[in-house]
Structure formats: C-alpha cells, structure tokens
C-alpha cells in the first residue's frame, strides 16, 4: 500500500522548522519532497538597510551554530572591496575561532546523530567534550554563541593565553581520539545503522553541487581552506579526509576525522601565533564594486557576495549557505530508504534551516 507521510514543519527531533513529505510503499520511501522558508527573516534585505558595521552583527545572527563563518565571510568581502589587509595575528586568530567553531559544530552533530541512532551514551559523551570547546570559545570571546570576533580589517579580541588554549585543545583531542573516533568508525551499532544507508553517489553529488563533508563523503575532494586558502590556512598543514561510499557512515567518518584535523590546525595556529596588532588600517570607505568571499564552514562552503555603490550601506549582500546547496540532495538519499532511517539520513548532512532560510 502506498501512502504519503507529511513530517513537520515542527519536529520533535531537530528544533528547526521545515517540512518533509515522504511518499512510501510499505516501509520503503519511494520519493521525498522538501519545503523550506519557515525561518525566513529577510536578512539580505535588512543588510541593504544598515551600514557596513551594522551588517556584521546582523549576519552573525543568521545561524546559532556557525555564526562566526558569516561575519568572517562578510568582513573578508568588504576587506577585498576596500583593499584592507588584516594583520598576521588577526588572520591566525580567525583560524583559531573558525576551527573551534568547527569542533563544536561537528561534536554537536555527532551527538545528535548518536541520539538518532539510539546511542544515547555517545550523545552524552559528545556533548561533554563539546562543552569543553564551548568553554574555550567563551574564554577567548566572552560568548558561547555569537562570538563577535571579526571586524572589518581584523579581529575585535586577542587570544591572550594561547598556552592554556593549547592545553584545552589537546585535552579535547584526547577525548575525541579515545571515545568518539573508535565508536564512530568501528562500533557495530553505528555500522549497522549507517553503512549503506542514504547513499549519494559521486555523480549525484557533482550534479547537485553539494559541498563540505557531505561532498567529501561522496568522493569530492574539495575543501575551500586548501582549494582557495584564506586567513592563515595557506601557512598551516592539514589533510582533507575523503570517503567514497557516499552513505551516512561515510559522512560520520569524514566529520570524525575532520575533528582531528581541526585539532591539528589549532595546535599549529596556537604555536605559531605571531605577535602584532589585531587590526589593519582604519576602515574609511568602500569603493563601488562587487566582491566575493568563500570560506569552509563546518557544513561546507559559505558564499558571500557584497556589492557597494560607494556609500556606507551595501547595495546588495548575497548569502549562499552550505545547507542551501546540500539539502536538495537529501531527496536523492531518501529514495528506496527504509522509513525508519529517514530521520538519520536527513540529519546526516547536518542541516541548518536558519542558514538555509536566512
């Protein structure tokens, strides 16, 4: 018997509104439709009503998880238009905050994924380690969500005690290596729930232009940090984990290995943190033109286009978030899936609807 199963827009599992309509035959999903826009806040229009400095806290509130990537992307775009080069220390601090954000985002996702697998002990373990990352972010920025670290031309706050931060990062890395990595890569419960589930092939991923860990789990070896380096990434050594199976397990493994790579980047950045000022020359005016900035956020490539008409208010700010690129591919992952796997499959791209809807 075939039937249609509407889920959402309000979900008991993921606390963000979107609608998923599953067309099923028995316990098998035949096709799926997605409906978004429930979180639309007209951020792009609002950005055309504020000056450049006011846009920074506005875009920081696009997302409660990866708030830093939005301010970093926007500031980079404006810096390119205004020909401002942030000082070296600021570029390294940008990397430190971006990688701490990636750590807490990946650990949050790992915890939620574990919960959806019915593995609540791992959920508790992930959130325990994540809390130490949040403490590190709070120690640097004074904030746990919107860090307010980036400004046009540099950063607002210094990393005053890189030694203690390094110790915290090493403790986080030990915790991840001892518990999270072995469980997500070898545990039978994880394997049985994830292997061969929600497959997105390399060809499908390429056609749909998916990005970030979702793309890398389908064999697309691209990471903006290495493909088009920004901040201080060009001076740091790291690998880009790639898996080819394209299933939920591959997405789990890619993110787990990225946690270790983030720790590796953080160790280097904290040890090499150069002395110097936090900001470049004063920000005076933004000449007319359009500049683009891309960064590798926790969920993938974040794209910003900022257009200036020469005034102190941007005439256009365009934001393309990674979930916006990845979410349509969930329809492909769900075809022929077991109905009971649908929550885990849609969660496996680490979706953010605040980012998607803006």
């Amino acid at each position: 018997m075939s039937y249609r199963l509407p889920i959402g827009p309000y979900h008991p599992a993921l606390e963000e509104p979107y609608k998923l309509e599953l067309h099923c035959e028995g316990e098998t999903v035949l096709s799926a439709d997605l409906h978004v826009g429930f979180n639309f806040r007209s951020i792009e229009r609002l950005a055309e009503r504020r000056n450049y400095l006011q846009v920074i806290p506005l875009v920081e509130r696009i997302c409660g998880i990866c708030s830093n990537v939005h301010t970093l992307s926007f500031c980079q775009a404006v810096e390119r238009l205004a020909a401002i080069d942030p000082p070296e220390r600021a570029l390294f601090i940008r990397v430190i905050i971006a990688e701490l954000e990636r750590l807490h985002s990946h650990l949050l996702w790992a915890g939620i994924a574990a919960k959806l697998m019915g593995f609540k002990t791992v959920f508790m373990g992930c959130f325990d380690i994540r809390e130490r990352v949040m403490d590190a972010l709070e120690a640097v920025s004074g904030n746990r969500v919107n860090y307010a670290m980036n400004c046009i031309g540099g950063v607002n706050r210094d990393v005053k005690d890189p030694g203690s931060l390094l110790a915290a990062v090493e403790a986080i890395e030990r915790g991840v290596t001892r518990t999270i990595i072995p469980i997500f890569t070898t545990d039978r419960t994880v394997q049985s729930r994830c292997a061969g589930v929600g497959v997105l092939t390399f060809e499908q991923a390429t056609q749909h232009g998916v990005v970030g860990p979702t793309a890398r789990a389908s064999g697309i070896a691209q990471d903006i940090r290495s493909a088009a380096p920004y901040a201080a990434y060009g001076r740091l050594q790291f690998d880009v984990p790639v898996e080819t199976a394209g299933d939920v397990r591959a997405r789990v493994v890619v993110r787990a290995l990225e946690i270790l790579e983030s720790s590796r980047i953080l160790r280097q950045a904290l040890k090499q943190l150069p002395a110097g000022p936090l900001r470049g020359r004063a920000f005076v005016e933004v000449p007319a033109g359009t500049a683009i900035s891309r960064i590798e956020g926790p969920r993938g490539e974040v794209f910003y286009s900022a257009t200036s008409d020469g005034s102190d208010i941007p005439s256009r700010v365009r934001v393309r978030t990674p979930t916006f690129a990845n979410m349509p591919a969930v329809r492909l992952m769900l075809v022929n899936a077991e109905l009971s796997d649908a929550p885990l499959i849609q969660a496996s791209i680490d979706p953010c609807y605040s980012c998607t809807d803006r």
Binding site: A77, A227, I292, R316, R318
Partner: protein, 135 residues
Amino acid sequence: MTDLDDISHELGISPAWREEFGSCWLAAPGLDPRALAHAMLARRARFVTITAIEQPNAELRLDYHWDLDGPLLTFTLATESHQIPSITELCPGADWVEREIRDYFAVVFLGRDLEPLMLCADDKPGIHLRNGRSQ
C-alpha cells in the same frame, strides 16, 4: 589563464577576464546561460550559485558563479524583460537557486516549472527583495 581564455573563446566573448575581489570576472550580458553551463560542465566545474542584483533600469544583473577546482569564475549576465533561460535541466544544483531568485526578484527562468521556495501562500514574487514591490 589559458583555460580561461579557452572558455571565453568557446563562448564567443571578446572582453578580457578581470581577476579581482575574490573571483575571475567575465562580463557577458547577452550570453545564454545554457551555453555557459555546457561549457563549464564539460570542464567539470562546480556550479556554486547565482547572485541577482537589481539594476537602475529595473532589469537584473545575474552573476553565475562556477568553481573550477579552486578558482572561482563569475560570469555577469543580464535578464531581458525579467526573463532568462533556466539551467536546471543541465545542472540540477541550480533548482533551488533559480526558485529563490524568482521568489525574491520575480525573475522568470524559462523552460521549467517554478514552484515557490521561500514565499508564503498568496505572496507575490518579488515581494522580498525587489524594490517597489513590498508596498
């Protein structure tokens, strides 16, 4: 840069590339985006997104962004009577992008159905970002 020149030659565009502000830019206001998509997909480029920017003449400038395995290429096209051919059939990744631009700016992408993506029921296309449409 040789590859970039090959692209502009294949597309029949004579202006030179500009490399600035985070991208390589090519102005091609009369170019058919389907020909562009063909050329870029043949080079295994990744479609990134389209940026719509309203112009003083009420037409839309559409920046098509493609990633050539690291370098970002931006082709600046323009609508005619607020219309432009769709590339979704060639490039499924453009589906949501075109629907969103239709919702925000009332651009008609020819050759496809445009189910609303961001609009609420009874909202008219263009209400969110098109100047003069919100009243």
